[in-house]
């Protein structure tokens, strides 16, 4: 168990280092930030040069990279050019909003998907199962941003039930969370359904039935526990997808979370914020995967003992 976790931790660190290198170089592929930071009417060649020097862009790339990596290791994510604040402050201002949005979306997805998946899984071929499969298919095939615009059009413009944009209390999160959840709903329905379907035919279920256990006990201790293993791994991954999806959703609904911030950073050529945000999101994703592995190994003894 310990060896397994240590190995996963090592892999994660390696992954993060890779992300660091990748982000650093990709940000520098998109051109010279100095050129965009100075208004065109005021940009003499000397001033551009001065700006590049001030931002440390004149040093060779490896030197810039070592400096950046050193800062990151010391926990210094740099200073945002766009927000004129330390990147850490900027991220922590936006993080709660995105976490709330993603958590709500995940809650919606689980509430819709698990019952549907279970119902479909226990009665394959029935109309209930058809419904579950339809939701699964539609959920995965519907583009988030398209659904977002449709939701705005129906519930904000036509019915006037909910705000079309911004953050004015919890009400403002309903439409974005629904739009964001759709992909997760699709995948979780399909996954739950197939997991339940598979487990239902396992020998140990038949054994449990034949020794006279109640359907409820079988459902909870045998089907649910085993199905949850598959579910846990996907929920973690889905959560990172939700974070990624928030880049579109937050921009459409004008919600100032991490996704909106990444857009702002890119639009304003704030290369410090872009690289730090990307690294932050990568770290977040890696941590979630790590957590998933830990939970997974607790639930599934086979992994623990391997």
């Amino acid at each position: 168990m310990q060896r397994y976790l240590l190995m996963r931790l090592g892999q994660s660190l390696l992954l993060l280092f890779g992300a660091l290198v990748l982000v650093f170089w990709m940000v520098r592929l998109t051109g010279d930030p100095a050129a965009l930071l100075i208004a065109r009417d005021f940009a003499s060649p000397e001033q551009l040069q001065e700006m590049r020097a001030a931002l440390g862009l004149n040093d060779p790339l490896p030197v810039q990279f070592i400096r950046y990596a050193g800062d990151v290791l010391r926990g210094d994510l740099g200073y945002s050019l766009r927000f004129r604040q330390p990147v850490r402050d900027v991220i922590f201002a936006a993080l709660p909003i995105t976490l709330l949005l993603s958590t709500l979306a995940m809650a919606i997805a689980l509430t819709v998907a698990i019952p549907l998946g279970v119902i479909g899984g226990v009665s394959p071929g029935s109309w209930k199962d058809s419904l579950a499969r339809l939701v699964g298919l539609l959920g995965q095939a519907t583009p988030t941003f398209w659904l977002a615009l449709i939701l705005i059009w129906v519930f904000a413009v036509n019915l006037r039930w909910l705000p079309s944009f911004g953050v004015d209390g919890l009400r403002s999160f309903i439409l974005p969370a629904f739009a964001l959840s759709i992909g997760a709903v699709g995948q979780l329905v399909r996954l739950t359904r197939s997991a339940v379907l598979e487990i239902r035919n396992e020998d140990y279920i038949r054994t449990a039935r034949s020794k006279g256990l109640s359907p409820f006990t079988i459902g909870l201790h045998h089907i649910a526990r085993n199905a949850s293993i598959a579910l846990v791994s996907v929920v973690g991954i889905q959560f990172t997808y939700l974070m990624a999806g928030s880049i579109y959703i937050e921009s459409i609904f004008a919600i100032p979370g991490i996704g909106w911030m990444l857009n702002e950073a890119i639009r304003n050529r704030d290369f410090v914020l872009v690289q730090s945000l990307t690294l932050f999101i990568a770290t977040f994703a890696v941590l979630i995967h790590l957590a998933t592995d830990v939970i997974y190994s607790v639930l599934d003894p086979r992994i623990r003992h391997r």
Binding site: A35, R84, G166
Partner: protein, 532 residues
Amino acid sequence: MLQRILRILGIMAIAGALAACAAPVPSPETGGEAVSVASGDAAAPSSPSGALIVALPLDPNSINPPNAADRMAGNVINQIFDSLIEVDNVTNELRPSLATEWTVSEDGMEYTFKLRKGVRFHDGSLFDAQDVVATFEAGKDPVNAYASAYANVTVEVVDDYTVKLKPNTPDVTFLRSLVGYNIISAEQFAAEGNAGIEIRPIGSGPFKFVEWSKGNRIVLEAFEEYWDEGKPLVQQVIFRPIPESSTRLAAIQTGEVHIINRLSADEAKTLEGVDGVELITYPADRVYYIAFNNLTTGVGKPTEDVRVRQAMNYAVDRQAIVESLFGGNARLSAGFVTPWNLGFDESLQPYPYDPERARALLAEAGYPDGFTIGMACPIGAYTSFEDVCQAVANYLAEVGITLEGGEIEFLESGVYWDRQSKKELPPLFGDSWSAAVGEALPRLVGALGGWQESYSAWSDPEIDRYLAAISSTFDVEARAALYKELQAYMYENPPFIYLYEPITFEAIRSAVKGYAPNSVEQYYLKHVYLAE
């Protein structure tokens, strides 16, 4: 991506509408000084009332005046701060604000302002000459994006209510540019410095700053002691950044916001006939063009021959481009000076579409079969500009001018401007340039100033001579005459393939009265009220 899809859908919708009937859009030719002002049928209130909600297409980077990166930030600042002078958005004339009168010295190097007495800042301090001094002192701090502009001005205090401003280098547009220098409180600057102004800006303007929740809202409140009697007319102004244009369209329909701007023609069309929403259109002071290069990549290319450049101007059907991509909502350019600039020559007609003449000129220049040349355009910088570039390339191909590598080099706008500043773009490259001082001089110098200018790829001694003359002629009439001569020269010796100047679309709720943005999207909300 999303915008692209919506744009394509929009173009399809427009194409359908055009087939059915002529689109009921205002003719660009009637432009002139015209800014359609929201009709003012209901009486203005006697005291400020209501909350005006203005959607912004983006969150301002800063609302500290020397850091405002764009018009949207500038418009928030305009409501909190005053300048020495302001622009009347209807007549386009300069008029007093914090300065009541001014005189300009013969040589244009000294501007004396009498300051308004009894003006208070939002922190209660009185306005006087020291605040003007502090404004330029604070502005030129290198932490600010526009420090160099502020550093270019020397302030001399004559007495408490008289100051002399002296530009360090001669600048004929100086007086008008002062509209953009917002006066800060010397008391605040002394106590809190630039960092304090960033967080809690204090001006003498019609609205005082209340709060800024980044990316969500900026709240301003009417300043009861504002010097301009009877203004402002609304109790609160709330700016809401909404980056996605389809969401802005939804928000104006639901009435969640009162004003939305930066709409495309297609988007504006979707609001036609919507209950409670009115459209506002006005021509933008921005010229789109395909530039030539005779400094670096274009050296030794056929485009050094003036006949070739004329031919390329004849080869492009601007009218068709503007019709199909913008529903006709753009003015065709005949030069680099727009109708909203000093000395605009209205007698110049855009180059007509004449491929025969283009071929003849090319043959005369020694290229009867055309030639091959490189061309680049930016992605994601301007509405439909990728399609415009593609159309231009197709027209050029029709007269035998083909592209190196067989296609336009499309570059993400950041990379594009980076390479433009290093003069590394191919000999043909597309771009646009706006002007904010009522004259074309900054954009002429910026785009045609030769090696000294970061974004210029062109040098022509004759143009240099005109620009030098314009820059040192302080008499307005004489300057206007020079602009006219320059336009005639640049028409015969085009340094660009001239394209178009777009029309700007905004939408307001019908209740909004007195809203009048100018050709650079600048507005003053102290005149605005809500009739309901």
